[in-house]
Amino acid sequence: MSRYFTEDHEWVDVDGDTGTVGISDYAQGQLGDIVFVDVPEAGKQLGKGDEAAVVESVKAASDVYAPVSGTVTEGNAALADDPSLVNSDPEAEGWFFKITLSDPAELETLMDEAAYADFVAKL
Protein backbone atom coordinates (compact mmCIF):
# COMPACT_ATOMS: atom_id res chain seq x y z
CA MET A 1 0.00 0.00 0.00
CA SER A 2 1.28 3.46 -0.88
CA ARG A 3 0.42 6.85 0.56
CA TYR A 4 0.27 10.01 -1.52
CA PHE A 5 -0.31 13.64 -0.56
CA THR A 6 -1.70 16.72 -2.31
CA GLU A 7 -0.55 20.32 -1.95
CA ASP A 8 -3.95 20.94 -0.35
CA HIS A 9 -2.98 18.56 2.48
CA GLU A 10 -5.17 15.59 1.62
CA TRP A 11 -3.64 12.12 1.81
CA VAL A 12 -4.74 9.01 -0.05
CA ASP A 13 -3.70 5.45 0.76
CA VAL A 14 -3.95 3.25 -2.31
CA ASP A 15 -4.51 -0.51 -2.18
CA GLY A 16 -5.24 -1.92 -5.64
CA ASP A 17 -7.88 0.38 -7.10
CA THR A 18 -9.24 1.47 -3.69
CA GLY A 19 -8.13 4.72 -2.09
CA THR A 20 -8.70 5.89 1.50
CA VAL A 21 -8.68 9.68 1.85
CA GLY A 22 -8.07 11.97 4.80
CA ILE A 23 -6.30 15.19 5.77
CA SER A 24 -2.74 15.36 7.01
CA ASP A 25 -1.52 15.83 10.54
CA TYR A 26 -0.19 19.23 9.45
CA ALA A 27 -3.67 20.19 8.20
CA GLN A 28 -5.46 19.21 11.38
CA GLY A 29 -2.90 21.18 13.39
CA GLN A 30 -3.58 24.27 11.27
CA LEU A 31 -7.34 23.88 11.57
CA GLY A 32 -7.41 23.39 15.32
CA ASP A 33 -10.32 21.81 17.17
CA ILE A 34 -12.54 20.08 14.63
CA VAL A 35 -16.22 20.10 15.53
CA PHE A 36 -17.94 18.82 12.39
CA VAL A 37 -17.10 16.80 9.28
CA ASP A 38 -19.41 16.36 6.30
CA VAL A 39 -18.25 13.30 4.32
CA PRO A 40 -19.54 12.23 0.89
CA GLU A 41 -22.01 9.36 0.55
CA ALA A 42 -21.35 6.07 -1.21
CA GLY A 43 -21.97 6.34 -4.94
CA LYS A 44 -20.89 9.94 -5.32
CA GLN A 45 -18.76 10.51 -8.42
CA LEU A 46 -15.80 12.80 -7.87
CA GLY A 47 -13.26 14.27 -10.27
CA LYS A 48 -9.75 15.02 -9.06
CA GLY A 49 -9.87 18.38 -7.29
CA ASP A 50 -13.66 18.37 -6.75
CA GLU A 51 -15.02 19.50 -3.40
CA ALA A 52 -15.50 16.20 -1.62
CA ALA A 53 -16.01 16.99 2.06
CA VAL A 54 -16.27 19.91 4.49
CA VAL A 55 -14.35 20.07 7.75
CA GLU A 56 -15.30 22.66 10.33
CA SER A 57 -13.11 23.78 13.19
CA VAL A 58 -14.20 26.13 15.95
CA LYS A 59 -12.66 28.89 13.86
CA ALA A 60 -13.63 28.24 10.24
CA ALA A 61 -14.95 25.89 7.57
CA SER A 62 -12.65 24.33 5.00
CA ASP A 63 -13.22 22.29 1.86
CA VAL A 64 -11.54 18.95 1.38
CA TYR A 65 -10.87 18.11 -2.28
CA ALA A 66 -10.77 14.72 -3.94
CA PRO A 67 -7.09 13.87 -4.47
CA VAL A 68 -8.06 11.44 -7.26
CA SER A 69 -11.07 10.81 -9.50
CA GLY A 70 -13.43 7.96 -8.80
CA THR A 71 -16.56 6.73 -7.06
CA VAL A 72 -17.02 7.02 -3.32
CA THR A 73 -17.67 3.63 -1.70
CA GLU A 74 -17.93 4.71 1.94
CA GLY A 75 -17.83 7.81 4.13
CA ASN A 76 -16.37 7.45 7.62
CA ALA A 77 -19.52 7.28 9.77
CA ALA A 78 -17.45 7.49 12.96
CA LEU A 79 -16.70 11.15 12.24
CA ALA A 80 -20.37 12.10 12.69
CA ASP A 81 -20.24 11.08 16.36
CA ASP A 82 -16.64 12.05 17.03
CA PRO A 83 -15.23 14.63 14.63
CA SER A 84 -12.26 15.11 16.98
CA LEU A 85 -10.86 11.84 15.56
CA VAL A 86 -9.49 14.05 12.80
CA ASN A 87 -7.42 15.86 15.44
CA SER A 88 -6.38 12.84 17.47
CA ASP A 89 -5.64 10.39 14.63
CA PRO A 90 -5.76 12.27 11.32
CA GLU A 91 -3.82 9.80 9.22
CA ALA A 92 -5.59 6.60 10.40
CA GLU A 93 -8.90 6.48 12.35
CA GLY A 94 -9.74 10.00 11.22
CA TRP A 95 -10.04 9.07 7.51
CA PHE A 96 -12.82 10.79 5.53
CA PHE A 97 -13.90 8.47 2.71
CA LYS A 98 -12.98 5.51 0.52
CA ILE A 99 -12.98 5.84 -3.25
CA THR A 100 -12.61 3.48 -6.23
CA LEU A 101 -9.99 5.09 -8.44
CA SER A 102 -11.07 5.64 -12.04
CA ASP A 103 -7.65 6.83 -13.23
CA PRO A 104 -4.72 5.49 -11.19
CA ALA A 105 -2.35 7.45 -13.45
CA GLU A 106 -3.41 10.56 -11.50
CA LEU A 107 -1.34 9.31 -8.58
CA GLU A 108 1.79 10.28 -10.49
CA THR A 109 0.87 13.94 -9.98
CA LEU A 110 0.81 13.58 -6.17
CA MET A 111 3.65 13.72 -3.63
CA ASP A 112 5.01 10.77 -1.69
CA GLU A 113 5.54 11.00 2.06
CA ALA A 114 9.08 12.38 1.81
CA ALA A 115 8.14 15.00 -0.80
CA TYR A 116 5.17 16.10 1.30
CA ALA A 117 7.36 16.43 4.39
CA ASP A 118 9.67 18.70 2.39
CA PHE A 119 6.66 20.67 1.09
CA VAL A 120 5.30 21.24 4.61
CA ALA A 121 8.72 22.16 5.97
CA LYS A 122 8.84 25.09 3.52
CA LEU A 123 5.41 26.47 4.54
Partner: protein, 401 residues
Protein backbone atom coordinates in the same frame (compact mmCIF):
# COMPACT_ATOMS: atom_id res chain seq x y z
CA UNK B 1 -7.98 21.26 1.47
CA UNK B 2 -8.51 25.00 1.28
CA UNK B 3 -7.67 27.28 4.17
CA UNK B 4 -11.15 28.70 4.37
CA UNK B 5 -14.07 28.78 2.01
CA UNK B 6 -14.05 32.06 0.10
CA UNK B 7 -16.67 34.78 -0.14
CA UNK B 8 -19.71 32.94 1.16
CA UNK B 9 -17.93 32.36 4.43
CA UNK B 10 -15.98 35.28 5.81
CA UNK B 11 -13.45 34.16 8.39
CA UNK B 12 -15.12 35.12 11.67
CA UNK B 13 -11.84 36.53 12.86
CA UNK B 14 -11.40 38.90 9.95
CA UNK B 15 -12.11 42.50 10.66
CA UNK B 16 -13.70 45.13 8.47
CA UNK B 17 -11.71 46.71 5.72
CA UNK B 18 -10.53 50.03 6.97
CA UNK B 19 -8.10 52.75 6.16
CA UNK B 20 -5.94 52.17 9.20
CA UNK B 21 -2.20 52.11 8.64
CA UNK B 22 -0.16 49.03 7.77
CA UNK B 23 -0.15 46.13 10.19
CA UNK B 24 1.05 47.03 13.67
CA UNK B 25 2.66 45.00 16.43
CA UNK B 26 1.30 44.76 19.96
CA UNK B 27 3.54 45.66 22.91
CA UNK B 28 3.34 41.96 23.81
CA UNK B 29 4.11 40.69 20.28
CA UNK B 30 7.34 38.89 21.26
CA UNK B 31 5.70 37.62 24.45
CA UNK B 32 2.86 35.98 22.46
CA UNK B 33 5.27 34.34 20.04
CA UNK B 34 7.45 33.04 22.88
CA UNK B 35 4.33 31.52 24.47
CA UNK B 36 3.46 29.70 21.25
CA UNK B 37 0.74 32.08 20.12
CA UNK B 38 -0.31 31.60 16.50
CA UNK B 39 -0.34 35.14 15.13
CA UNK B 40 -2.93 36.33 12.62
CA UNK B 41 -3.86 39.77 11.30
CA UNK B 42 -6.82 41.27 13.15
CA UNK B 43 -7.99 44.86 13.44
CA UNK B 44 -4.74 46.09 11.91
CA UNK B 45 -2.52 44.16 14.33
CA UNK B 46 -0.74 40.84 14.42
CA UNK B 47 -2.62 39.08 17.21
CA UNK B 48 -2.60 35.61 18.79
CA UNK B 49 -5.59 33.58 17.60
CA UNK B 50 -4.70 30.67 19.86
CA UNK B 51 -1.94 29.12 21.96
CA UNK B 52 -2.82 25.52 22.86
CA UNK B 53 -6.20 25.42 21.10
CA UNK B 54 -9.42 27.39 21.04
CA UNK B 55 -11.57 24.75 22.73
CA UNK B 56 -9.19 24.19 25.65
CA UNK B 57 -8.63 27.92 26.09
CA UNK B 58 -12.35 28.64 26.05
CA UNK B 59 -13.15 25.98 28.66
CA UNK B 60 -10.18 27.04 30.81
CA UNK B 61 -11.50 30.61 30.91
CA UNK B 62 -14.96 29.42 31.97
CA UNK B 63 -13.58 27.31 34.83
CA UNK B 64 -10.45 29.20 35.86
CA UNK B 65 -8.99 32.38 34.33
CA UNK B 66 -7.44 33.61 31.11
CA UNK B 67 -5.21 36.51 30.12
CA UNK B 68 -6.33 38.33 26.96
CA UNK B 69 -4.16 40.95 25.29
CA UNK B 70 -6.61 43.56 24.02
CA UNK B 71 -4.03 46.29 23.51
CA UNK B 72 -5.33 46.78 19.96
CA UNK B 73 -8.37 48.51 21.41
CA UNK B 74 -8.41 52.29 21.51
CA UNK B 75 -7.94 53.81 24.95
CA UNK B 76 -8.94 57.44 24.75
CA UNK B 77 -8.63 60.12 27.41
CA UNK B 78 -10.94 63.14 27.09
CA UNK B 79 -9.85 66.40 28.63
CA UNK B 80 -11.71 69.67 28.80
CA UNK B 81 -9.63 72.67 27.77
CA UNK B 82 -10.99 75.43 29.97
CA UNK B 83 -14.25 73.53 30.48
CA UNK B 84 -15.10 71.24 33.38
CA UNK B 85 -15.85 67.52 33.46
CA UNK B 86 -19.58 68.19 33.29
CA UNK B 87 -19.09 70.05 30.03
CA UNK B 88 -17.04 67.15 28.62
CA UNK B 89 -19.83 64.76 29.64
CA UNK B 90 -22.40 67.00 27.97
CA UNK B 91 -20.33 67.02 24.78
CA UNK B 92 -20.08 63.22 24.77
CA UNK B 93 -23.83 62.93 25.29
CA UNK B 94 -24.44 64.40 21.84
CA UNK B 95 -23.23 61.15 20.28
CA UNK B 96 -23.77 58.63 23.10
CA UNK B 97 -27.34 57.78 24.24
CA UNK B 98 -26.19 56.92 27.78
CA UNK B 99 -26.27 59.08 30.89
CA UNK B 100 -22.65 60.27 31.06
CA UNK B 101 -23.40 63.38 33.12
CA UNK B 102 -24.87 61.22 35.87
CA UNK B 103 -22.03 58.67 35.78
CA UNK B 104 -20.21 59.07 39.09
CA UNK B 105 -16.40 58.99 39.19
CA UNK B 106 -14.99 55.43 38.84
CA UNK B 107 -18.29 54.18 37.35
CA UNK B 108 -18.29 52.54 33.90
CA UNK B 109 -21.10 52.52 31.37
CA UNK B 110 -21.48 50.55 28.13
CA UNK B 111 -22.52 52.90 25.37
CA UNK B 112 -22.85 53.30 21.62
CA UNK B 113 -21.32 55.87 19.31
CA UNK B 114 -24.18 56.99 17.04
CA UNK B 115 -24.38 58.80 13.73
CA UNK B 116 -27.10 61.33 12.96
CA UNK B 117 -29.40 58.57 11.72
CA UNK B 118 -29.02 56.64 14.96
CA UNK B 119 -26.81 54.04 13.30
CA UNK B 120 -24.10 52.46 15.44
CA UNK B 121 -20.55 53.59 14.59
CA UNK B 122 -19.03 51.68 17.49
CA UNK B 123 -19.76 50.22 20.89
CA UNK B 124 -17.60 51.34 23.76
CA UNK B 125 -17.07 51.68 27.49
CA UNK B 126 -16.99 55.11 29.11
CA UNK B 127 -15.68 55.76 32.62
CA UNK B 128 -15.88 59.00 34.56
CA UNK B 129 -12.44 59.54 36.07
CA UNK B 130 -11.83 60.85 39.59
CA UNK B 131 -9.97 64.10 40.15
CA UNK B 132 -6.61 64.68 38.52
CA UNK B 133 -3.86 62.76 40.33
CA UNK B 134 -6.22 59.95 41.36
CA UNK B 135 -5.84 58.15 38.01
CA UNK B 136 -2.99 57.63 35.52
CA UNK B 137 -4.46 59.56 32.59
CA UNK B 138 -3.19 63.06 33.28
CA UNK B 139 -5.84 65.77 33.29
CA UNK B 140 -8.48 63.65 31.53
CA UNK B 141 -11.99 63.63 33.00
CA UNK B 142 -13.29 60.65 31.00
CA UNK B 143 -11.73 57.39 29.81
CA UNK B 144 -13.27 55.71 26.78
CA UNK B 145 -12.31 52.30 25.36
CA UNK B 146 -13.34 51.68 21.75
CA UNK B 147 -12.86 48.80 19.31
CA UNK B 148 -9.47 48.39 17.67
CA UNK B 149 -10.77 48.13 14.12
CA UNK B 150 -12.74 51.36 14.44
CA UNK B 151 -10.52 53.49 16.68
CA UNK B 152 -9.14 55.81 14.01
CA UNK B 153 -12.56 56.34 12.44
CA UNK B 154 -14.05 56.95 15.89
CA UNK B 155 -11.45 59.59 16.63
CA UNK B 156 -12.03 61.31 13.30
CA UNK B 157 -15.78 61.37 14.01
CA UNK B 158 -15.36 62.61 17.58
CA UNK B 159 -12.94 65.33 16.48
CA UNK B 160 -15.58 66.43 14.00
CA UNK B 161 -18.58 66.46 16.34
CA UNK B 162 -17.09 67.39 19.71
CA UNK B 163 -16.41 71.05 20.48
CA UNK B 164 -12.85 72.27 20.07
CA UNK B 165 -12.40 72.63 23.81
CA UNK B 166 -12.49 68.85 24.30
CA UNK B 167 -9.06 67.27 23.70
CA UNK B 168 -8.86 63.61 22.68
CA UNK B 169 -5.78 61.59 23.54
CA UNK B 170 -5.43 58.14 21.97
CA UNK B 171 -3.09 56.55 24.49
CA UNK B 172 -1.09 54.21 22.27
CA UNK B 173 1.61 53.88 24.93
CA UNK B 174 -0.87 52.06 27.19
CA UNK B 175 -1.40 48.29 26.88
CA UNK B 176 -4.76 46.77 27.86
CA UNK B 177 -4.80 43.31 29.44
CA UNK B 178 -8.02 41.52 30.36
CA UNK B 179 -8.00 38.78 32.98
CA UNK B 180 -11.30 36.92 32.79
CA UNK B 181 -12.85 33.92 34.51
CA UNK B 182 -14.23 32.89 37.90
CA UNK B 183 -10.74 32.77 39.41
CA UNK B 184 -9.44 35.91 37.68
CA UNK B 185 -9.92 38.43 40.47
CA UNK B 186 -8.38 36.17 43.12
CA UNK B 187 -5.30 35.75 40.92
CA UNK B 188 -4.98 39.46 40.12
CA UNK B 189 -5.52 40.36 43.79
CA UNK B 190 -2.35 38.45 44.71
CA UNK B 191 -0.39 40.88 42.52
CA UNK B 192 -2.57 43.91 43.11
CA UNK B 193 -4.11 43.80 46.59
CA UNK B 194 -7.40 45.62 46.89
CA UNK B 195 -8.63 44.92 43.38
CA UNK B 196 -11.21 42.51 44.81
CA UNK B 197 -13.07 45.49 46.28
CA UNK B 198 -14.17 46.61 42.82
CA UNK B 199 -17.59 45.46 41.66
CA UNK B 200 -18.87 44.99 38.11
CA UNK B 201 -18.66 48.19 36.05
CA UNK B 202 -16.50 50.10 38.51
CA UNK B 203 -12.83 50.99 38.19
CA UNK B 204 -9.95 52.33 40.22
CA UNK B 205 -6.30 53.28 40.32
CA UNK B 206 -3.79 50.71 41.55
CA UNK B 207 -0.05 50.14 41.27
CA UNK B 208 2.15 47.15 40.50
CA UNK B 209 5.96 47.22 40.78
CA UNK B 210 5.89 50.98 40.67
CA UNK B 211 3.70 51.11 37.55
CA UNK B 212 0.38 52.92 37.64
CA UNK B 213 -2.60 50.74 36.68
CA UNK B 214 -6.18 51.62 35.91
CA UNK B 215 -8.30 48.54 36.54
CA UNK B 216 -11.92 48.09 35.48
CA UNK B 217 -14.06 45.20 36.68
CA UNK B 218 -15.52 44.45 33.27
CA UNK B 219 -14.91 42.25 30.26
CA UNK B 220 -16.15 40.53 27.15
CA UNK B 221 -16.57 36.90 28.17
CA UNK B 222 -19.65 36.92 30.44
CA UNK B 223 -17.38 35.91 33.31
CA UNK B 224 -16.15 37.93 36.25
CA UNK B 225 -12.83 39.62 35.61
CA UNK B 226 -10.91 42.81 35.11
CA UNK B 227 -9.41 44.90 32.31
CA UNK B 228 -6.08 46.47 33.21
CA UNK B 229 -4.62 49.53 31.52
CA UNK B 230 -0.86 49.43 32.05
CA UNK B 231 2.11 51.28 30.51
CA UNK B 232 3.21 49.31 27.44
CA UNK B 233 6.76 48.90 28.76
CA UNK B 234 5.47 47.09 31.86
CA UNK B 235 3.00 44.82 30.03
CA UNK B 236 5.31 41.85 29.40
CA UNK B 237 6.48 41.69 33.01
CA UNK B 238 2.89 41.87 34.23
CA UNK B 239 1.81 39.19 31.74
CA UNK B 240 4.62 36.93 33.02
CA UNK B 241 3.60 37.58 36.62
CA UNK B 242 -0.11 36.94 36.14
CA UNK B 243 0.51 33.81 34.05
CA UNK B 244 2.75 32.51 36.86
CA UNK B 245 -0.41 32.33 38.98
CA UNK B 246 -1.73 28.77 38.68
CA UNK B 247 -5.23 29.86 37.64
CA UNK B 248 -4.14 31.90 34.63
CA UNK B 249 -3.20 30.95 31.06
CA UNK B 250 -2.92 33.17 27.99
CA UNK B 251 -6.00 32.98 25.77
CA UNK B 252 -6.23 33.91 22.09
CA UNK B 253 -8.74 35.72 19.91
CA UNK B 254 -10.44 32.50 18.86
CA UNK B 255 -11.67 31.74 22.36
CA UNK B 256 -12.41 35.41 22.95
CA UNK B 257 -14.84 35.21 20.04
CA UNK B 258 -16.54 31.99 21.18
CA UNK B 259 -16.75 33.24 24.79
CA UNK B 260 -18.40 36.53 23.82
CA UNK B 261 -20.78 34.74 21.44
CA UNK B 262 -21.96 32.41 24.24
CA UNK B 263 -22.33 35.49 26.48
CA UNK B 264 -24.62 37.06 23.85
CA UNK B 265 -22.30 40.06 23.43
CA UNK B 266 -22.27 41.63 19.96
CA UNK B 267 -19.06 42.14 17.98
CA UNK B 268 -18.77 45.44 16.17
CA UNK B 269 -18.41 45.11 12.39
CA UNK B 270 -20.30 41.82 12.51
CA UNK B 271 -23.36 42.08 14.77
CA UNK B 272 -23.35 45.89 14.82
CA UNK B 273 -22.76 48.36 12.00
CA UNK B 274 -23.86 51.84 10.87
CA UNK B 275 -27.09 50.40 9.41
CA UNK B 276 -28.03 49.03 12.82
CA UNK B 277 -29.72 51.02 15.59
CA UNK B 278 -29.57 50.28 19.33
CA UNK B 279 -33.18 49.05 19.26
CA UNK B 280 -32.57 46.71 16.31
CA UNK B 281 -29.49 45.42 18.12
CA UNK B 282 -31.55 44.74 21.27
CA UNK B 283 -29.26 47.08 23.21
CA UNK B 284 -32.09 49.23 24.56
CA UNK B 285 -30.48 49.13 28.02
CA UNK B 286 -27.84 51.50 26.64
CA UNK B 287 -30.53 54.19 26.22
CA UNK B 288 -30.55 55.83 29.64
CA UNK B 289 -33.91 57.01 30.99
CA UNK B 290 -32.92 60.66 31.28
CA UNK B 291 -31.65 60.63 27.71
CA UNK B 292 -34.80 58.97 26.38
CA UNK B 293 -36.95 61.56 28.10
CA UNK B 294 -34.80 64.42 26.80
CA UNK B 295 -34.51 62.83 23.32
CA UNK B 296 -31.32 64.83 22.86
CA UNK B 297 -28.84 62.38 21.29
CA UNK B 298 -27.89 61.69 17.68
CA UNK B 299 -30.67 59.80 15.92
CA UNK B 300 -33.03 60.14 18.89
CA UNK B 301 -36.20 60.63 16.85
CA UNK B 302 -35.72 57.43 14.87
CA UNK B 303 -34.45 55.38 17.81
CA UNK B 304 -37.26 56.43 20.15
CA UNK B 305 -39.86 55.74 17.45
CA UNK B 306 -38.42 52.26 17.00
CA UNK B 307 -38.49 51.79 20.75
CA UNK B 308 -42.20 52.65 20.83
CA UNK B 309 -43.36 50.98 17.62
CA UNK B 310 -40.89 48.12 17.48
CA UNK B 311 -37.96 47.80 15.07
CA UNK B 312 -38.34 46.16 11.64
CA UNK B 313 -35.65 43.65 12.49
CA UNK B 314 -34.06 42.55 15.72
CA UNK B 315 -30.89 40.81 16.84
CA UNK B 316 -31.59 37.38 18.31
CA UNK B 317 -29.71 34.34 19.50
CA UNK B 318 -30.14 31.06 17.63
CA UNK B 319 -29.66 27.49 18.73
CA UNK B 320 -28.74 25.51 15.63
CA UNK B 321 -29.82 21.86 15.26
CA UNK B 322 -27.19 19.23 14.60
CA UNK B 323 -23.48 19.75 14.94
CA UNK B 324 -22.47 21.84 11.93
CA UNK B 325 -21.66 25.47 12.74
CA UNK B 326 -23.66 28.09 10.84
CA UNK B 327 -21.55 31.20 10.53
CA UNK B 328 -21.68 34.87 9.62
CA UNK B 329 -23.20 35.43 6.18
CA UNK B 330 -25.67 32.55 6.24
CA UNK B 331 -29.24 33.50 5.32
CA UNK B 332 -32.38 33.21 7.40
CA UNK B 333 -35.20 32.04 5.10
CA UNK B 334 -38.96 31.62 5.38
CA UNK B 335 -40.98 28.52 4.50
CA UNK B 336 -40.84 29.48 0.80
CA UNK B 337 -37.10 29.97 0.87
CA UNK B 338 -37.22 33.77 0.65
CA UNK B 339 -34.38 35.49 2.53
CA UNK B 340 -35.77 37.29 5.59
CA UNK B 341 -32.66 37.75 7.70
CA UNK B 342 -28.97 37.22 8.09
CA UNK B 343 -26.63 35.45 10.48
CA UNK B 344 -24.07 37.95 11.79
CA UNK B 345 -22.02 35.66 14.09
CA UNK B 346 -22.00 31.94 14.53
CA UNK B 347 -19.90 29.02 15.48
CA UNK B 348 -19.52 26.03 17.69
CA UNK B 349 -20.07 26.92 21.35
CA UNK B 350 -17.65 24.90 23.48
CA UNK B 351 -19.50 25.40 26.79
CA UNK B 352 -22.89 24.69 25.20
CA UNK B 353 -21.57 21.76 23.19
CA UNK B 354 -23.52 22.75 20.10
CA UNK B 355 -23.55 25.35 17.34
CA UNK B 356 -25.03 28.75 18.19
CA UNK B 357 -25.43 31.99 16.27
CA UNK B 358 -26.69 35.54 16.31
CA UNK B 359 -28.90 36.85 13.52
CA UNK B 360 -31.12 39.73 12.54
CA UNK B 361 -34.69 38.58 11.87
CA UNK B 362 -38.07 40.33 11.39
CA UNK B 363 -39.34 41.47 14.79
CA UNK B 364 -42.38 39.17 14.49
CA UNK B 365 -40.00 36.18 14.46
CA UNK B 366 -37.77 37.35 17.30
CA UNK B 367 -39.64 35.64 20.14
CA UNK B 368 -37.67 32.93 21.95
CA UNK B 369 -38.75 29.52 20.76
CA UNK B 370 -39.57 30.61 17.20
CA UNK B 371 -38.33 28.00 14.71
CA UNK B 372 -36.30 29.39 11.81
CA UNK B 373 -34.46 28.00 8.81
CA UNK B 374 -30.93 28.96 7.88
CA UNK B 375 -29.22 28.41 4.55
CA UNK B 376 -25.45 28.09 4.28
CA UNK B 377 -23.72 26.98 1.08
CA UNK B 378 -27.00 25.59 -0.26
CA UNK B 379 -27.72 23.48 2.80
CA UNK B 380 -30.69 24.05 5.12
CA UNK B 381 -30.16 24.10 8.88
CA UNK B 382 -33.00 24.13 11.40
CA UNK B 383 -32.66 26.63 14.24
CA UNK B 384 -34.74 28.08 17.04
CA UNK B 385 -34.63 31.57 18.55
CA UNK B 386 -32.88 31.28 21.93
CA UNK B 387 -32.77 33.72 24.82
CA UNK B 388 -29.45 35.56 25.24
CA UNK B 389 -27.03 34.90 26.82
CA UNK B 390 -26.50 31.24 25.93
CA UNK B 391 -24.29 30.86 29.02
CA UNK B 392 -25.35 32.84 32.12
CA UNK B 393 -23.29 35.90 33.01
CA UNK B 394 -21.36 35.59 36.26
CA UNK B 395 -20.56 39.21 36.99
CA UNK B 396 -19.85 40.24 40.59
CA UNK B 397 -22.25 43.10 41.20
CA UNK B 398 -22.59 45.58 44.04
CA UNK B 399 -24.38 44.06 47.03
CA UNK B 400 -24.05 40.62 45.45
CA UNK B 401 -21.76 37.74 46.45
Amino acid sequence: MSDTLPDTLPDPLDELDGDEPAIQLLPLDAWHRARGGRMVPFAGYEMPVQYEGIMAEHLWTRESAGLFDVSHMGQVGLTGDGIDAAAVAAALEQVLPGDVAGLAPTRIRYSLLLNDEGGILDDLMVTTLPEEGAHPFGAASHYVVVNGATKYDDLAYLLDVLPDDVTLNLMEDQALLAVQGPKAVAAVARLVPGVEALVFMTAGAFAWNGHALWISRSGYTGEDGVEISIPAEAAAAFADAICAEPEVKPIGLGARDSLRLEAGLPLYGHDLDPETTPVMADLGFALSKRRREAADFAGAARILAERTDGPAVKRVGLSVAGRQPVREGASVVDADGAVIGRVTSGGFAPSVGAPIAMAYVPAALAEAGTPLRLVQRGKIHEAVVAPLPFVPHRYVRAGGK
